[in-house]
């Protein structure tokens, strides 16, 4: 029983991390049809920025500052990439993929050149390094931090989408971008905003990933991105609740399989992906966003 509880909460923590990355990916793809392979690079750079901050300041305050700084770094990076690179390439998916894949390779290499290839320990303040007893299991506090953060983000994103004018523009744009402009709305502003939100969430994921794994490395973002893409494919492009459920499922399946089927977690995720994709009715050729 206590093993199951620990596995479940660890899986939920991992799912929370996936959700933070995947929700940005899904919004960006849903609105702009951009597959942002650079998303992992946003995460990695933010994680290192947060790490430097946490090391310098120290303690719980240092971590809070690191979270803030990491999130801002992700947002800023995403805005620059959107304005400088992606903006010129709307409607040219091949070039977009080349550019974002290029970034996803170049940025980790750059990080590696500056801070080395080895993984670094992420300073976890004492307040968060302990465990909490839940039904007999000793669960690390950081798991709860991740779950709480993901829930808060889910609520905030939902509020943004359902209550704000930009949220309305994003939902409409996911359905029919051209028609949004035909109502007199400059949809490119929504593009930048959605990129910024996605980048901020990736940045937050970088910080929380450091907390979750207790370490960071130049390729952490890239490997997490793979699972985030799986989450998006399962959950549906452009659907935030779908992505949240899917992130939960992927995190749990991965943890359970890792333990009960002896290290087959990643394999189980692939099986889950295949099962979902095969069970889904073939998409209409007409296109449109689900």
């Amino acid at each position: 029983m206590s093993t199951l509880v620990l596995l479940t909460l660890t899986g939920l923590g991992l799912g929370a991390l996936y959700f933070l990355i995947a929700s940005g990916l899904a919004l960006i793809f849903g609105l702009m049809d951009v597959l942002n392979f650079a998303h992992g690079a946003f995460l990695t750079v933010s994680a290192y920025a947060a790490w430097r901050t946490a090391e310098t300041v120290g303690g719980t305050g240092g971590l809070a500052l690191a979270a803030l700084f990491g999130t801002a770094t992700g947002a800023l990076l995403a805005i620059v990439v959107e304005l400088v690179l992606i903006r010129r390439l709307y409607g040219r998916p091949r070039e977009q993929i080349l550019v974002t894949v290029g970034l996803s390779l170049a940025v980790p290499a750059l990080v590696q050149a500056v801070w080395g290839a080895d993984s670094r320990p992420f300073p976890v303040p004492d307040a968060l390094s302990g465990t909490v007893g839940v039904l007999g299991a000793q669960v690390p506090v950081s798991r709860f931090v991740l779950i709480a953060a993901a829930l808060a983000v889910l609520a905030a994103v939902n509020l943004f989408l359902s209550r704000t004018r930009y949220g309305l523009i994003v939902r409409a744009g996911v359905e029919d971008r051209a028609m949004v402009t035909a109502l007199g709305i400059d949809v490119t502003r929504a593009f930048t905003l959605v990129f910024a939100i996605g980048g901020a969430l990736a940045g937050l994921a970088g910080v929380l990933g450091g907390l979750y794994f207790g370490s960071l490395s130049p390729h952490q973002g890239t490997s997490l991105l793979v699972f985030a893409f799986v989450v998006v494919v399962i959950g549906g492009m452009g659907s935030i609740p779908g992505v949240a459920l899917s992130a939960l499922a992927v995190g749990l399946v991965q943890q359970y399989a890792n333990y009960y089927v002896d290290g087959y977690g990643d394999f189980a995720v692939v099986v889950l992906l295949a099962a979902v994709v095969l069970a889904r009715p073939a998409p209409r050729l007409a296109g449109g966003v689900a």
Binding site: R165, A172, E175, M179, L183, G184, I185, V187
Partner: protein
């Protein structure tokens, strides 16, 4: 056949000259030119595939990715807007009801209208609710679950919500049952009392009722401009320019054909929104 005296004296609200458009490798428009008078309804006519929708989309800067304007000018109230981005053209005061209605199926009726509210201007909800009382009752309903006729009402309401200098409506009666066609025509008639309308329409009964001026395209060119009633009275001309025989056939069998189409559109929209 020139425009009758009195219609041409004030400056046209929209003036298109020698418009040329290419989409991919094919040249779709090869010289479209016409004026839209600052009052009343101007009908843009022509057989299927002659370039009516392309003309309207080129005016609004809404051509598909691989399309481009290769020549000509578009002036809105005297100002050159050729090749301007869509939202800047629209903000100058253009309402647009596209051929496929362009209603956001996953949004509610109220959200569709809110989205259409343009900054800085009054929003005529009183007018919209007066013209479409049904939309007020259905404001919380997802637009994708509305019937085809109701969706057309949403699309028209969005275009009439703002103070516009011109409203462009592309085939608003396509695929609608005769009773709904009449409703749409009534709405357009009332709209045209407030704002000039450029109307793409294949239903000649509707054109006869609404339009004062007519522009006819054929194979990407303007082949006729003039008084609408005069054109429609000229049997030979309407047959050669508009292929009227074909049209009347589809009008007669209208109701039986169109019901399944409406249902399919509704299903399609519902699927998209899930």
């Amino acid at each position: 056949m020139s425009t009758p005296a009195g219609h041409e004296s004030p400056q046209p609200i929209l003036s298109v000259r020698d418009l040329r458009v290419r989409i991919g490798q094919s040249s779709i428009l090869q010289g479209v030119g016409f004026d839209v008078a600052p009052t009343g309804t101007t009908a843009l006519l022509g057989r299927n595939g002659v370039g009516k929708t392309t003309t309207v989309r080129a005016v609004l800067g809404l051509l598909p990715e691989e399309g481009e304007v290769t020549g000509g000018t578009v002036r809105l109230d005297g100002e050159d807007v050729t090749g301007h981005r869509t939202h800047t053209v629209v903000r100058r005061g253009v309402g647009y009801v596209p051929e496929d209605r362009g209603v956001f199926g996953s949004l509610t009726v109220a959200e569709n209208l809110t989205l259409a509210e343009r900054a800085g201007g009054p929003h005529h909800y009183d007018l919209v609710h007066d013209l479409f009382p049904e939309l007020k009752a259905r404001r919380a309903q997802r637009a994708g679950t509305l019937s085809g006729g109701q969706q057309q009402m949403v699309a028209l309401a969005r275009a009439l919500l703002n103070d516009n200098r011109l409203v462009i409506v592309d085939e608003p009666t396509k695929g609608l049952a005769p009773r709904v066609v009449t409703e749409v025509a009534e709405v357009l008639q009332r709209a045209a009392e407030r704002v000039p309308v450029l109307l793409v329409e294949q239903n000649l009964a509707v054109v006869r009722r609404l339009a004062r001026d007519a522009v006819v395209l054929d194979a990407g060119r303007t082949v006729h401009t003039g008084d609408a009633a005069e054109l429609l009275a000229d049997r030979e001309r309407t047959t050669s320019l508009l292929g009227v025989g074909r049209h009347e056939r589809s009008e007669r069998s209208g109701q039986a054909e169109e019901r399944p189409e409406e249902r399919e559109q509704r299903e399609h929209a519902t699927k998209e929104s899930t």
